[in-house]
């Protein structure tokens, strides 16, 4: 599959995180030393231990500790490492100014500046690596609307109807839009082939053709999109009798693998953050439809509006994706 996700290996992740944590602890140790013993610190780097210098070192110490704590709290985020890089620049600027002053040990200051520059290089390296890992991870995060990733869901429901009733309703793919919220329309091309139109955000839609690849009457239907479709989709449904006349168990498995680019994002947005929950709701609607002939509507669906009559019945129907 083209452009699915950028590969990254586990080693890169863990070595980057180790370096990041080390830098975090270094920040805290340096900051603590600067705050606790600023005059000794000043002498160590070759600057006079004047009140001004000591106070500056105390402020720098506080900054180091804050950066260290932030890095250790979120070692997966590059932003705090970049804050360290900024701090390093401040340190270097201060050391540079100190060079021009009286009563300084230039050798010691030079060593200190070299050390800061070295740490700064490490900071930049770690920040860039972390940003890269962050980016890749974000793309691999399952179900994320930002991600360019696939969706694979399995759900099961028991319906109080005969196996044959359920099978024949499902076998007519044109029924899908009645209970699958993301499917706008399905046209039957012939007995095997169908054209799917799925709803996408902002009034867009995605279209693909699918074929039934397996069909065992009263038992099992499997379908998948034709090769070269905008969306790589496959699904199956299995019907089996629940024990003791408890109806029929309906097991559904669906997979969407989006292509790279804009449509990939559209597919991810189709399902929002919780595709598992969405398919579960679809199956609940399937059950409602098969058992009662309709999808009961709430006056206060979700926590979106108060449970009081709507001004227009369509407000509720549109939200629920149910036609009159």
């Amino acid at each position: 599959m083209k452009g699915r996700v950028m590969p990254y290996n586990q080693f890169e992740l863990s070595s980057t995180e180790r370096l990041t944590r080390a830098l975090g602890w270094f920040s805290i140790a340096l900051g603590a030393a600067e705050m606790a013993a600023p005059s000794r610190m000043a002498r160590l780097i070759g600057a006079p231990d004047t009140d001004t210098n000591c106070n500056t070192l105390r402020v720098f110490g506080a900054r180091e500790i804050a950066a260290g704590v932030a890095i250790l709290a979120r070692p997966d985020q590059a932003r705090w490492l970049w804050s360290r890089v900024g701090g390093d620049a401040l340190d270097l600027a201060w050391l540079g100014r100190a060079m021009t002053g009286d009563d300084v040990e230039k050798d010691r200051l030079g060593v200190a500046a070299a050390a800061v520059a070295g740490v700064a290089a490490l900071d930049v390296f770690a920040a860039r690596r972390t940003r890269r890992v962050q980016r890749v991870q974000r793309q691999q995060e399952p179900w994320s609307a930002r991600a360019n990733s696939g969706v694979r869901v399995e759900q099961v429901v028991t319906v109080n109807r005969s196996l044959d009733d359920l099978y024949s309703f499902w076998r007519d793919f044109q029924n899908f839009p009645h209970f699958m919220r993301h499917v706008k329309q399905i046209e039957l091309i012939d007995d095997i082939h169908s054209r799917w139109t799925a709803k996408a955000p902002a009034g867009m839609s995605v279209q693909w053709d699918a074929e039934i690849v397996q069909d065992r009457e009263g038992e099992w239907i499997a379908w998948r999109s034709l090769p070269g479709s905008q969306v790589d989709h496959s699904g199956s449904v299995r019907f089996s009798p629940a024990p003791g006349a408890r109806g029929t168990e309906v097991r559904v498995q669906m997979e969407y693998v989006p292509p790279a680019g804009r449509f990939g994002r559209v597919i991810a947005m189709l399902f929002g953050e919780e595709p598992e929950q969405q398919i579960r709701e679809d199956l609940r609607r399937f059950k409602q439809l098969m058992e009662t002939g309709e999808i009961p509507l709430s006056d206060g669906p979700g926590l979106w509006r108060a449970a009081q009559p709507a001004k227009r019945a369509d407000e509720i129907r549109d939200y629920a994706g149910v036609s009159e």
Partner: protein, 389 residues
Amino acid sequence: MRATCWMGSRNIEVERVPDPKLLNASDAIVKITSTAICGSDLHLYNGFIPTMKRGDVMGHEFMGEVVEVGKGVQNLRVGDRVVVPFPIACGHCSQCDREMYSLCENTNPNAWMAEKLWGYSPCGIFGYSHMLGGYAGGQAEYARVPFADVNPLKVPDDLDDEQVLFLSDIFPTGYMAAEACGIQPGDTIAVFGCGPVGQFAIKSAYMLGAERVIAIDRFPYRLRMARERAGAETINYEECDIFEALEEMTGGRGPDHCIDAVGLEGHAPGIHGAYDKMKTAMMLETDRPVALRQAILACRSGGTVSVAGVYGGFIDKFPMGAIVNRSLTIKSGQTHVQRYMRPLLRRIQNGEIDPSFVITHRVNLSDAAVAYEMFAKKQDDCMKVVMRP
């Protein structure tokens, strides 16, 4: 129309809201003639039930006249006079097939919320939070009633509203609690809580053959009604130790079965009551199960503790040891009202009971806010408020 709306904890207002419309083919619109405030509405009022939203229409005990039916409705006609049960059932799922109507699998469109809290979802309920369906309630001028072929009960014209209104909830609820005890001749039943459900539990326990019923509360007017109207012996828990009193009254055996008609906002004197008030205030438990604990400890070994009171979340210091070691049975559930409406209507028609005895206040719907406050604070000996739009 005017409707009683939840505007936040301890804040009820009668607001103008749009008239209900048919949303599903199985819906009916009922013009409400009488509606009541339920003790369980006070849990919403006091903010104990999550997923309420400002503006939610309250009320799940109501009756009225059918003014519109959806095109799928066959058993009801415009003009029919009906009592509407509080649990909404579809009549087709396997729970409905088993007459476990309050467990209907199809009537909670917000089932996912209930599933997060309770594992699986019960049925939808009128005016009782979004996680139980987000249905507008019946303390209003009109209500939309889903699955109108299954739920509303047509009532004969010779019975007035006040005689049949409580078939919507509290009479069946008290009855189911008593039925769950499996009462045998000679049994003594202890009923914790003498609110309206407690009163009907007492009456029902006698109907089902109890020898004695002992009722427990702290408000003299409620105990008086339990004695004088429902025929129970009574204990005021603020004046004595309940366990000792019940032990003494039952020859040291304990009552054969206990009914908790209190629910999650129980009170108890002393450290026991203070403990739960503190825990709920600190959000360390959601419900105050003081009556339930007492009922479990007081019950005769091998007996049943039947829980009619509403609990919503989690309780603390639950005496499981007593249940296991003394072979107690706990029975509970939201009432399967549809199962009891017809048989209990017959008892009313036969003159075995006139449920209107619990009514103490009759007000106009416009006075709902005052009525809620009065009922919550047990002012003016308030037992049951019926409102007319």
